[in-house]
């Protein structure tokens, strides 16, 4: 227990950094995943192929390989995820603006990987809308935009929100990999440092770090259960 009490500041700041990482990577992958989903359901074949191959590549590659590629391979061609130094945003998330690129690279890698799963969740949502809905909308004269805006998307969103939630929960857990790829000060880096460098008792440290992740994932899981139950009633 002493290990945890003595290092509670490290745990707390680690938790905050992991939270920042998750928020930024989550928003990024939702944006990229939406773009991919639009590509995959667009009527233009080359764009569809692009979306499909992206999803097939990133769903089948381990996140570890993606991290290796982003952190060690991309710098050889001069890509250090500097486009994430977004002015304004780096005032709030101060790690974005600093010289060391590992926080940005972790966001980039998580974003690339998670976007493929976000895309699939959204696409399965659109596929869950019965074709009759859109046909009915067209037959009463709605334009394509009106059809998507008022008929398809509201229903697709309902079907997609639970899978999306599980994707985000998985991403939160995956964010632990960042600590093994140069990021310092997040939960997993704190864990490693306490367990290996300082030789602390591994079991309490593990439980504390697991609790840190559970604090992020369990509430999200409960909200999803709630949504699922409400939907089961409306259906």
């Amino acid at each position: 227990m002493d290990v945890i009490l003595n290092n509670r500041d490290a745990f707390f700041s680690g938790f905050l950094l992991t939270l920042q990482l998750c928020v930024l990577a989550g928003v990024g992958s939702l944006l990229l995943g939406t773009v991919l989903a639009v590509l995959r359901i667009s009527p233009v074949p080359p764009l569809r192929w692009l979306g499909t191959s992206y999803v097939n590549v990133f769903r089948n590659v381990p996140l570890t390989v993606v991290f290796f590629f982003v952190v060690f391979a991309l710098p050889t061609i001069g890509v250090r995820a500097d486009f994430l130094q977004i002015p304004g945003l780096d005032q709030v998330f101060t790690r974005l603006g600093i010289q060391l690129p590992y926080f940005r690279m972790a966001i980039f890698a998580l974003m690339l990987y998670t976007a493929a799963f976000v895309c699939e969740a959204l696409r399965s949502g659109v596929n869950a809308v019965p074709p009759g809905q859109a046909e009915a909308a067209r037959s009463i004269g709605l334009t394509f935009t009106q059809n998507v805006r008022h008929v398809v998307l509201p229903q697709a969103w309902k079907a997609a929100v639970v899978p999306l939630g599980s994707v985000i929960i998985a991403m939160i857990k995956n964010s632990a990999l960042a600590g093994f790829f140069g990021l310092t000060g997040d939960l997993s880096a704190t864990f490693q440092q306490l367990v290996s460098a300082r030789g602390q008792a591994a079991i309490p440290v593990f439980l504390a770090v697991a609790a840190g992740f559970l604090v992020l994932t369990i509430p999200l899981g409960l909200v999803l259960d709630q949504v699922e139950r409400r939907q089961a009633v409306t259906r």
């Binding site: 009527p43 089948n60 381990p62 570890t64 061609i77 001069g78 857990k173 995956n174 593990f206 439980l207």
Partner: protein, 329 residues
């Protein structure tokens, strides 16, 4: 593909088809231009497309080709070995955990009619306590990132005075490190598979349990003989996709210095004769894509088979297809 088309778009007429063709050509052109400026130029400018860097990986005539691929082959074998062990153990642990949790749940409501009051209370308390303990176990290992679990297992085993044995045989390396990885993966995936099976068993119609009890099966017999086989069958697609997850997570072995394919590739890429991380990781990525894509396709096939199996369980229509054909003829 065609199904999405049906949701969002009408069947295209001549004008829509013309527009689609033109937009496709433009988009294709834009993609090519984008690929040239965003992928080809940066790679070529940094000299990453040279044969110095790719040769050892793709040119059999290169003097390093044989060595590099022998090392990568060893790494791939180590990856697959760890994955197979992790999968088998996860299935075992998952099954045990699912049965255990179901049994403990039933113990909670048992009355212990034959025992005296304090003993019965103690027995119920024990059942409830064990139930909570397994619940906490499940939540902790399901909620903790698998990287953390693997690292933890690797560190905590020596601390507890346990060192997994080195069971290597000639031609079959099973080093001590592999077991740390396998245990770490098993803790996470066993718990996940356990929950998959448990929800499968709890989702079965109540009549199954009631019928089993009516013919006099005990609660353990009911679980093992009636519920579990059906849960396996229903959850087969979910189980196979979990296997893809296990295979992907095996790449985390690099964290505990287990020489699986990713760590091997990383060591090779740092070799002064090669110095080609980008090419090396790309090749490893392609290997993983091929293996996992095949597994996913298998999952899809099994899913369809299972669905078909369930359909044929419904009594077939009176007339066999041949008879119908005969009538039509």
């Amino acid at each position: 593909m065609s199904q999405q088309g049906a949701v969002l778009y009408d069947v295209p007429g001549p004008r829509a088809r013309r527009v689609t063709t033109i937009v496709s050509l433009l988009a294709g052109l834009a993609l090519l231009v984008g690929a040239y400026f965003l992928v080809y130029r940066p790679l070529a400018d940094a000299g990453e497309l040279s044969m110095d860097k790719w040769g050892p990986l793709i040119d059999p005539g290169n003097e390093l080709f044989g060595q590099v691929w022998r090392r990568l082959g060893d790494g791939l074998r180590a990856t697959l070995l760890a994955a197979v062990f992790a999968i088998v153990f996860s299935l075992l642990v998952g099954t045990l955990l699912a049965v255990l949790r179901l049994q403990l749940r039933q113990l909670r409501t048992r009355r212990y009619a034959g025992l005296s009051r304090p003993l019965a209370l103690a027995a119920r308390g024990l059942g409830t306590g064990l139930g909570w303990l397994t619940r906490v176990f499940v939540e902790v290992f399901r909620g903790a990132p698998v990287v953390i679990t693997i690292f933890f297992v690797w560190r905590v085993l020596p601390e507890l005075g346990l060192r997994p044995p080195d069971l290597s045989m000639p031609g079959l390396p099973l080093p001590s490190l592999m077991w740390s990885l396998v245990i770490g993966l098993t803790l996470y995936n066993g718990v996940v598979i356990g929950e998959i099976l448990r929800s499968g068993m709890q989702g079965l119609p109540r009549g199954q349990t009631e019928a089993a009890q009516a013919i006099g099966l005990s609660s353990l017999q009911t679980t093992l003989r009636i519920l579990l086989p059906q849960a396996y069958r229903i959850m087969l697609p979910a189980l196979i996709s979990q296997l893809v997850v296990v295979l992907k997570d095996t790449a985390l072995g690099f964290i505990i210095t287990y020489s699986e394919v990713m760590r091997t590739a990383n060591l090779l890429a740092e070799n002064p004769q090669l110095r080609n991380p980008l090419q090396m990781y790309a090749v490893v990525g392609v290997i993983f894509i091929l293996v996992n894509y095949t597994l996913s396709k298998l999952a899809g096939y099994v899913e369809r088979r299972v669905a078909r199996g369930r359909r044929t369980a419904i009594p077939p229509p009176a007339a066999a297809p041949e008879e119908v054909a005969a009538v039509v003829r």
